[in-house]
């Protein structure tokens, strides 16, 4: 499955400044492994242990993957994967 992955500003150092890069895989997990092969280091920014990082949001076709199976979310040809770091913080 060929998908498009939209990369946030902060991670474009891994993609040579590209805003969007192609990815391959049947699940989000496979797409991230595939991204890592072309853009080493990016996986660690997205995943912690066996899960997505708490403050990284990933959407497949505008659906937040936290509600569609997380890293196991299946993707199809032509799908769009969007990565957005949370905008968050606080006094503590």
């Amino acid at each position: 499955m060929a998908v498009e992955v939209r990369i946030p500003t902060i991670l474009r150092t891994y993609t040579g400044g590209e805003k969007a890069v192609p990815g391959q895989g049947a699940t989000l997990s496979e797409v991230i492994e595939n991204l890592e092969a072309s853009h080493p280091g990016i996986k660690e920014r997205l995943i912690e242990g066996a899960d997505l990082r708490r403050f990284v949001n990933v959407y497949v076709n505008d659906e937040d993957v936290r509600f569609t199976g997380g890293l196991g979310t299946s993707v199809s040809d032509g799908d769009q994967v969007v990565v957005l770091p949370a905008v968050a913080g606080g006094a503590r």
Partner: protein, 148 residues
């Protein structure tokens, strides 16, 4: 330095006062590369908390798509501290992911929901390094554009 117009400045302060004692948060978008905060967008604090803020993930996607369509970027990302000073906390620093943004902090600790001055301060946060910068308030968006 952050240059911002009076109306946008007032909108940020009003939002912070309105949501006190919870933290308020939002963005001022502007044309990519312009460094001009032009479009004020108050966001919902999905955490609804006096000590934490987080844009709702669905709203976040909508916001970034909209900015993308309009060739904008988040020029200012603001939030309030409601019991502490207007300085980035460790959490703020660790979670700051927009190296080009001015991170604005407003503290409502002194007057809460009431009228009265607030601390309004601006920072760059890049790779964990915090640099405070001056804030210059101009009369209108036109001034922002003409002096830019």
């Amino acid at each position: 330095m952050l240059r911002i117009d009076q109306e946008t400045y007032d909108a940020i302060v009003a939002h912070a006062k309105r949501d006190h004692p919870d933290e308020a948060c939002g963005v001022v978008a502007g044309p990519e590369g312009s460094d001009r905060p032009e479009r004020f967008i108050a966001m919902v604090n999905a955490a609804g908390s006096p000590t934490f803020y987080e844009f709702d993930p669905t709203d976040l996607l909508k916001l970034y798509r909209e900015m993308d369509d309009r060739d904008e970027e988040p020029v200012v990302i603001y939030h309030s501290h409601t019991a502490t000073e207007a300085y980035p906390s460790r959490t703020d620093i660790g979670l700051a992911m927009e190296p080009h943004a001015h991170y604005v902090l407003v503290s409502t600790r002194e007057h809460g929901n009431s009228d009265g001055p607030v601390e309004f301060r601006s920072y760059r946060i890049v790779d964990g390094d915090v640099t405070e910068e001056d804030v210059s308030v101009v009369a209108s968006l036109e001034d922002l554009r003409s002096q830019g």
